[in-house]
């Protein structure tokens, strides 16, 4: 589908792990989790950090909950009948409306980076999973080159930081949430690490 040469870029281990975290969280929030994904999540281990202990909870839920129930939970949280309990789009969180100015701003930045919504994806690009995919791509150099930490910070501060923490809290506290509660916890803890790390880089 794309003819772009994949640029092989060496990235530091901690950056690779950041990209892994974005991919991991995106995979859980993108669509109803597949049997394969749930089986993978069941293999997660834990430690004493906030992310580690939420991973342990998530792993336990993946092992014990019926996969169909997990997928039903996804639908009722994020899709619903008419609409889900949570609308995980930047525009909605920032303005109260879908497809508003924040989406236009994002599309303009995506065009500058040289990326677009993949074929077959119906949701607007400002879905949390899309934005996390983009962060991962910027870090890994999936979009033709590696983007500097300062450039990553600019994208993060503009499109993710202003609203994603609130989204993760909404997921943790949703009425129908079980499986996705620790996903929200992991997301919130990770976003906090990202915010702090970007502020240490001397970029502001």
């Amino acid at each position: 589908m794309t003819n772009v040469d994949v640029v092989q870029i060496e990235i530091a281990e901690e950056d690779s792990l950041r990209a892994d975290m974005y991919d991991f969280i995106a995979s859980l929030l993108r669509t109803e989790p597949s049997d394969e994904l749930i089986a993978q999540v069941a293999l997660l281990e834990g430690d004493k950090t906030p992310i580690g202990s939420a991973c342990l909870t998530l792993s336990h839920l993946a092992k014990t909950l019926d996969n169909g129930l997990i997928r039903n939970e996804y639908v009722s949280l994020f899709i619903g009948v008419g609409r889900g309990e949570i609308l995980p789009f930047a525009s909605y969180y920032l303005t109260g409306f879908l497809n508003d100015k924040p989406l236009a701003n994002l599309r303009s930045d995506m065009s500058a980076i040289g990326i677009r919504r993949a074929e077959g994806v119906k949701e607007p690009e400002d879905h949390i999973a899309s934005l996390f995919d983009m962060m991962s791509g910027l870090i890994r150099g999936r979009f033709g080159r590696r983007f500097s930490v300062a450039e990553q910070a600019t994208f993060f501060r503009k499109h993710i930081e202003p609203w994603a923490d609130l989204l993760m809290r909404d997921i943790e506290a949703a009425k129908t949430v079980v499986f996705f509660a620790p996903v929200g916890t992991i997301g919130r803890a990770f976003l906090e690490i990202e915010s702090q790390a970007f502020s240490m880089d001397g970029t502001g």
Partner: protein
């Protein structure tokens, strides 16, 4: 002097991330991420391998570099 501060800041960030991120590897997130890496929602616009086009320059300008 400024260079030293900048280097310190970068090193501080790296150390901070290492401290937080190592546990991420330990708990196995990487394995899950590896399974899903190809399922991204965005793709590179065909033929737009990195070139410093007017668009990219505009992005830098808007990002205040």
């Amino acid at each position: 002097m400024e260079d030293t501060n900048k280097k310190d800041a970068v090193a501080g960030r790296r150390d901070f991330l290492k401290g937080s991120a190592v546990s991420v590897a330990a708990v196995g997130v990487t394995a899950v991420a590896g399974k899903s890496a190809s399922a991204g929602e965005v793709e590179v616009v065909a033929g737009s391998g990195y070139r410093e086009t007017e668009h990219v320059k505009a992005f830098y300008a808007s990002a205040r570099f």
